[in-house]
C-alpha cells in the first residue's frame, strides 16, 4: 500500500477524536462512583454528597495544585522539576520572616515587622525566581539533565531552609499575610493560577513555544525559537508558583517550618501525569492537570473515608503514579504503531 492510499483511507474514517481531557474526566467520575458504592457498602453513607468532605478534599489538594500548574508546563517543555517541594519550605520560611507582627517579641527581623502583605509576597516570589533561574540556567546552558539539576537544587534549597533560622520555626504572621491562606483562599488562588496558565499555554506565544520545545527541541530551534532562553522562563515560572504555594501553606498554618512541602514535588508531578501530561513532553494541558488534581484528591479522601490506614495510602499513591506513567507509555506506543 502506498502512502497515498494510507492518507485516503484515513480521510474516509471520521477523525474527530475526543480530547484526552474527556477521558480523564471519565476516569474521575468512575473513581468517584467506586468510592460512592464502597461508601454505602462499608460506611453506610454517601461519599460524594457531603459538602464538608468535598471542601476539605479540594482544600487539601489545591496548594499542591498550584505547584502542579508550574510543573505541568515544565513537563510539557520536556523537563521535570524536583525542587518545588524544597522551594515551598524555603520560601515559607523567608516570606514568613518578613511577615511577622511587632507584638511578637522574637521576630526574625525585629526592625522589619508589621510590613504590608505585599512585601513578604514579593520577597517570596523573588526567592522562587532565583531558584528557577538556577534550575533553568543549569538545564539550558550546562545541558545537564533536568532530573539531576533540580535534584541538586532540591537538596540545596532544603538545606537553605533549615539554615535560615537554624531550624527554628517562624510564626505569628500579620493578618494581611495570613489572609492568603485563610478560608477557601488556597482554592481561589489555585483557580486563578490555573485559569491564567490555561490561557497562557493555549493562546500565547509562551505556551506555543513550550509545547514546541517539548515536542521536538531540535525542530523548535530550527524554527527560530531561542530554546535556551525559553527554558529558563519555564523553570522560573515553575519555581515562582512553588513559592506562591509555599506562602499559602505558611499563611494557612500561620507558621513556617523548614520541613514544609516535603515530597510535594512528587504529588505535583503525579497530578500532572494522572491528568494526561506526557513525561516525554509536548503533550498535556493545564485542564488535564486540574482534573488529575481532583482525581488525586478523591483517591486520598476516599481512602481516608474508608478508614484505610495512612501507610496503605502512601503505598497505593506510589502505585497510582506508576500506573499513570505506564498508561502514558502505552498510549505513546499505540500511537507510534498506528
Amino acid at each position: 500500500m502506498s502512502s497515498q492510499d494510507i492518507s485516503a483511507s484515513r480521510a474516509a474514517r471520521p477523525q474527530r477524536r475526543l480530547p484526552t481531557e474527556v477521558n480523564i474526566l471519565l476516569v474521575l467520575i468512575g473513581i468517584a462512583l467506586v468510592f460512592e458504592i464502597l461508601g454505602w457498602i462499608f460506611q453506610g453513607q454517601s461519599f460524594l454528597f457531603s459538602w464538608n468532605r468535598l471542601k476539605i478534599m479540594i482544600l487539601q489538594v489545591s496548594v499542591i495544585g498550584i505547584i502542579a500548574v508550574g510543573v505541568t508546563q515544565v513537563i510539557i517543555s520536556g523537563g521535570i522539576d524536583l525542587s518545588s517541594g524544597s522551594v515551598v519550605g524555603a520560601v515559607a520560611m523567608v516570606a514568613m520572616s518578613f511577615a511577622q507582627v511587632s507584638t511578637y517579641a522574637r521576630a526574625v527581623y525585629p526592625g522589619l515587622t508589621d510590613l504590608p502583605m505585599i512585601v513578604p509576597l514579593l520577597i517570596g516570589l523573588g526567592c522562587g525566581a532565583v531558584v528557577g533561574l538556577i534550575n533553568g540556567w543549569l538545564i539550558a546552558y550546562t545541558k545537564i539533565p533536568p532530573f539531576i539539576a533540580t535534584l541538586g537544587t532540591m537538596v540545596t534549597v532544603r538545606g537553605f531552609a533549615k539554615w535560615y533560622t537554624k531550624g527554628q520555626p517562624v510564626s505569628f504572621p500579620t493578618e494581611g499575610f495570613a489572609w492568603i491562606g485563610s478560608g477557601m483562599m488556597p482554592v481561589v488562588i489555585f483557580i486563578l493560577v490555573a485559569a491564567i496558565f490555561h490561557v497562557a499555554m493555549k493562546y500565547t506565544r509562551y505556551g506555543k513555544f513550550t509545547y514546541a520545545i517539548g515536542a521536538n527541541a531540535q525542530a523548535a530551534r530550527v524554527s527560530g525559537i531561542d530554546v535556551e532562553r525559553h527554558l529558563v522562563k519555564v523553570y522560573v515560572i515553575a519555581a515562582m508558583l512553588a513559592a506562591l504555594a509555599g506562602m499559602v501553606v505558611a499563611a494557612r498554618g500561620q507558621t513556617a517550618q523548614a520541613g514544609m512541602g516535603l515530597a510535594y514535588e512528587l504529588d505535583a508531578i503525579a497530578m500532572a501525569v494522572i491528568g494526561g501530561v506526557s513525561l516525554n513532553g509536548g503533550r498535556g494541558s493545564i485542564l488535564g492537570t486540574a482534573i488529575g488534581m481532583v482525581i488525586f484528591g478523591v483517591i486520598i479522601s476516599g481512602f481516608t473515608f474508608l478508614r484505610l490506614d495512612a501507610y496503605y495510602q502512601e503505598m497505593i499513591k506510589g502505585a497510582i503514579v506508576v500506573a499513570a506513567v505506564v498508561a502514558d507509555v502505552h498510549r505513546q506506543r499505540k500511537r507510534r504503531k498506528a
Binding site: S3, Q4, Q15, Y203, A219, V222, G224, G282
Partner: protein
C-alpha cells in the same frame, strides 16, 4: 581420524561453499511503509574474499546489511549460510551463527576495558564463578598478536582513538570466529596510515578464509582492497563483477543508470542578481573552503554522497551549527548568522533533512506545525498569538500545497510522510523567504507528492526565490537545478551547468 565417508561429506560441503559462497542470499525483498527498500536482491560472498557493496545513497546497501546482521527480517527471500538455509532472528542470533557486523557508529562500551568489551557475555571465569581478568587479558593479548594489533587489553576504551576502537571491533568480530564480517564504511573516520593498517588486517582476515562485506563510497578503496563487488540501485540488484575486470567509469555507470521518470520538468524562468554569496566557509574537521553564490530565481542543486557534509553546510548557513570562518554575504553585505532566528531575519528558510528529528512536532497538530516559525517573528500582540489570522494563513497554505488530512487539528504523527513534508514546506513558505534551503525535499515520500513538491519549487523560483536544493537523487538534481554544485568529503569538488551535467559527471565529482 575421520572416516572416508565423513571426509567426502566435508568435501562436498566445501565445494558447495566455494561455488555458492559462504553466504548467499537470493530473492530478498524488504518493504517499509511507502517504500520498497529491497526488491528481489541477491548477493554471494565467497570465503576468503573482500566483496565491496556499491550504490548511491538509498540504493539499499544498509538495509541489506541490516538483514544479514539480523537487525531486520526480510519480507521474502532466502539466506544461505555455509550452504544451509538460515533465519537470522536478531543480531545476537546472526552473531552466533557466524556473522559479525562492524557498524559505522561504533558500539563499544566506553567505560570498560578493551578486554572486557571483546569478551562480554563470554568472560572466562575462575572456580568461584568470578571473572578471571588475568586470563581474559591473556586471551586478548593472544588475539591481538594474531591480528598484529598493538593495543593494551587493560586500557579503557574511552581513551582510544576512533581507529583503535575500530581495531577493537574487528578483533571482537574475529574472536567470535565469524565466517562473515560486514564493515560499513570503516575508513570514514580514519587517517591514511590507519587505513593502511586496517587494510593489512583485512588482507590477513581474507587469508584466513573469512568472507568480508565491505561497504564504501570510495572508488580507490574498492580497487585497492576488494576482489569482487556488487552494485545496487534503487533497491535492485544491478550486477556483480571482479574488481580487476572493470574501470571506475564502468562502476559509476552501473550505479547511476537511473531513469528520469515522474519528474516535474523545470520551467525556465528568468534568473536575477546575486542574493547570497558564500566565501570560504569552514568548520574545521567538517567542511572546508566552501564558496558559492546564489541568484534570485535560481535553483542551485547540491549533490554529494553520504559524508560529503552537504547538510552541514546548510546548517552553517542557517545558523544551526555556525561555521568558524568564512563570510556570508546577503545582497552584497556581510552578515553574521549564529542562530536560526538571525538567518530568518535575513529572509532565509531551511527545510531540514530529517523530518522526524529536526522538522515535525509530532505530538502537535497541523496548524501548530505550520505556524511555529511564523509566530517567532510576527503575528503576536502582547504575547498573544493572533490565532484567527495565523490560522487563516496556515489553512490557505495547506490548501495551496494540497495537504491531505481530514482536518488541520489532526496530530501530525498520524499523517503520511509526504503530507508531513508539505506541512514543513508550508511552515517555511509562510515566512515568505527570499532564500530557501531545501535538504532532501522529497526523501521518503510517494511519487505523487514528489512531483507536486517539484512543481512548487519551480514556482517559487519563478517568483524570484533563490533555492539551494540538497538532494541525493541525481535525477532530481538534474531535473530541477539551474546549476549543480558537487561536494566530496567536506570540499566543493566542482560545479556543473544545467546543459552540461549528467549523472556520470556528477558521480565522478562526488566519488573521486
Amino acid at each position: 581420524m575421520v572416516s572416508p565417508r565423513t571426509a567426502a561429506a566435508i568435501d562436498r560441503v566445501k565445494t558447495t561453499i566455494d561455488r555458492e559462497g559462504v553466504l548467499s542470499i537470493s530473492g530478498i525483498r524488504k518493504e517499509f511503509p511507502g517504500v520498497l527498500a529491497l526488491d528481489n536482491v541477491q548477493l554471494r560472498i565467497r570465503p576468503g574474499t573482500v566483496h565491496a557493496l556499491m550504490g548511491e545513497n538509498g540504493a539499499g546497501k544498509s538495509t541489506l546489511m541490516k538483514i544479514i546482521a539480523g537487525v531486520y527480517q526480510p519480507d521474502a527471500g532466502e539466506i544461505r549460510l555455509r550452504g544451509q538455509v538460515v533465519a537470522l532472528k536478531s543480531p545476537l542470533d546472526a552473531l552466533e551463527q557466524g556473522i559479525s557486523m562492524i557498524h559505522q557508529e561504533l558500539a563499544l562500551m566506553n567505560w570498560m576495558t578493551v578486554a572486557e568489551n571483546i569478551w562480554i557475555r563470554r568472560e572466562p571465569t575462575n572456580r568461584l564463578g568470578l571473572i578471571d581478568h588475568a586470563k581474559m587479558a591473556q586471551m586478548t593479548a593472544d588475539l591481538f598478536a594474531r591480528l598484529n594489533i598493538g593495543l593494551d587489553p587493560t586500557v579503557q576504551v574511552s581513551e582510544l582513538t576512533v581507529a583503535q576502537k575500530q581495531m577493537v571491533e574487528i578483533a571482537k568480530a574475529v574472536s567470535h570466529n565469524s565466517d562473515v564480517l560486514i564493515m560499513d564504511e570503516p575508513t570514514s573516520a580514519l587517517t591514511e596510515r590507519e587505513v593502511d593498517h586496517l587494510f593489512a588486517i583485512i588482507r590477513d582476515l581474507r587469508e584466513r578464509g573469512i568472507g568480508i562485506v565491505y561497504i564504501t563510497h570510495k572508488m580507490n578503496e574498492l580497487f585497492e582492497i576488494a576482489d569482487e563487488f556488487t552494485v545496487f540501485r534503487d533497491g535492485k540488484y544491478v550486477g556483480t563483477h571482479n574488481a580487476s575486470d572493470v574501470t571506475r567509469d564502468d562502476i559509476i555507470r552501473m550505479m547511476v543508470g537511473r531513469e528520469i521518470t515522474n519528474m516535474f520538468p523545470k520551467v525556465d524562468c528568468p534568473i536575477g542578481g546575486t542574493i547570497l554569496e558564500v566565501q570560504n566557509l569552514t568548520l574545521p574537521g567538517v567542511f572546508h573552503d566552501v564558496s558559492f553564490s546564489l541568484r534570485r530565481g535560481e535553483i542551485l542543486g547540491l549533490a554529494g554522497l553520504v559524508g560529503s557534509k552537504r547538510s552541514n553546510v546548510a546548517e552553517a548557513l542557517f545558523g544551526v551549527h555556525p561555521a568558524e570562518s568564512g563570510r556570508i554575504l546577503i545582497d552584497g553585505a556581510e552578515v553574521s548568522i549564529k542562530t536560526p532566528a538571525q538567518a530568518m531575519a535575513h529572509g532565509m528558510a531551511f527545510l531540514t533533512e530529517d523530518r522526524k528529528e529536526t522538522g515535525c512536532f509530532l505530538t502537535l497538530d497541523c496548524l501548530e506545525n505550520i505556524q511555529s516559525a511564523l509566530i517567532t517573528r510576527s503575528h503576536v500582540r502582547n504575547g498573544f498569538v493572533q490565532q484567527r489570522e495565523v490560522n487563516a494563513l496556515a489553512e490557505d497554505m495547506a490548501r495551496t500545497l494540497r495537504v491531505k488530512t481530514p482536518n488541520l487539528q489532526e496530530t501530525v504523527e498520524n499523517l503520511s510522510g509526504g503530507n508531513q513534508q508539505k506541512l514543513l514546506i508550508a511552515r517555511w513558505l509562510l515566512t515568505k523567504p527570499r532564500i530557501l534551503i531545501l535538504d532532501e525535499p522529497t526523501r521518503g515520500i510517494d511519487v505523487g507528492a514528489k512531483s507536486e513538491i517539484h512543481r512548487l519549487i519551480t514556482e517559487l523560483a519563478a517568483q524570484g526565490v533563490a533555492v539551494l536544493m540538497i538532494s541525493s537523487e541525481l535525477p532530481e538534481v538534474l531535473g530541477m537545478s539551474d546549476r549543480i554544485m558537487v561536494m566530496h568529503e567536506g570540499h566543493v569538488s566542482g560545479f556543473l551547468n544545467r546543459d552540461e551535467a549528467d549523472q556520470v559527471k556528477i558521480m565522478s565529482l562526488a566519488a573521486k
